[in-house]
Symmetry: C2
Subunit: 128 residues, 2 copies
């Protein structure tokens, strides 16, 4: 496990988007922007059950992400990591509420009827 | 080859950053922000010879990228693509000059002494 730099921690706890890359079933990379936060020394990502990102992260632990301040992509931190825990149910809903508050100021995330959430905790392996 | 939507073309030709994911030698994804442009219907990425991204893109054609306006990551287009051409030498230097103009307004990219550039042309396979 790599130690996150202060700058990486600051970017991950601020309302900045992380572009998270994971692997498709055929080995191709897939990348999209997501909300993130820290959970201790692990990186928290939350998505809806059934999405491509969920299927990819459940199948293969290997991820990479790049995060930068919204107004300055030159100031980016690139992280290689590994999914070490998958969280379903109420705890995952509490996570998306927390992210909705952080990014949008919402008291509760407007969860669509029937949508289930899932969280992935990512251990950083290298930070550059 | 997938047809780029008008919105994808607009994002790719504007001064927006693309977060490009490619594959490391061990199959792990790697993602970082890069300057991009269109070259006809192909996506142009340019980097310095010797960088991780260059080694990855030469070794494995499989790439993914996510691009959005600087001020609105919610409005992102995610593309799967394949490197179909690698360009070295003067043509690659002309590309980085063009990108420096587009992103920074520079008449010439301030190429460090001894740095060689390389361009990758990426064919879009799917656009979402």
């Amino acid at each position: 496990m790599a130690k996150l730099t202060d700058h990486a921690r600051e970017l991950l706890t601020g309302p900045n988007f992380a572009f998270v890359a994971e692997l498709m079933e055929d080995g191709w990379p897939h990348v999209s922007p997501v909300w993130v936060d820290l959970e201790g020394d692990l990186i928290l990502v939350n998505t809806a059950v059934g999405r491509l990102k969920e299927r990819n992260l459940r199948r293969d632990e290997r991820v990479a992400l790049s995060i930068s301040p919204l107004d300055n992509p030159y100031d980016h931190v690139d992280i290689r990591g590994r999914v070490v825990r998958v969280i379903d149910g109420d705890e995952a809903v509490a996570h998306i509420d927390r992210l909705g508050k952080k990014y949008r100021g919402w008291d509760r995330y407007p969860l669509p009827e029937g949508e289930q959430r899932v969280s992935f905790l990512i251990e950083p392996i290298s930070v550059r």
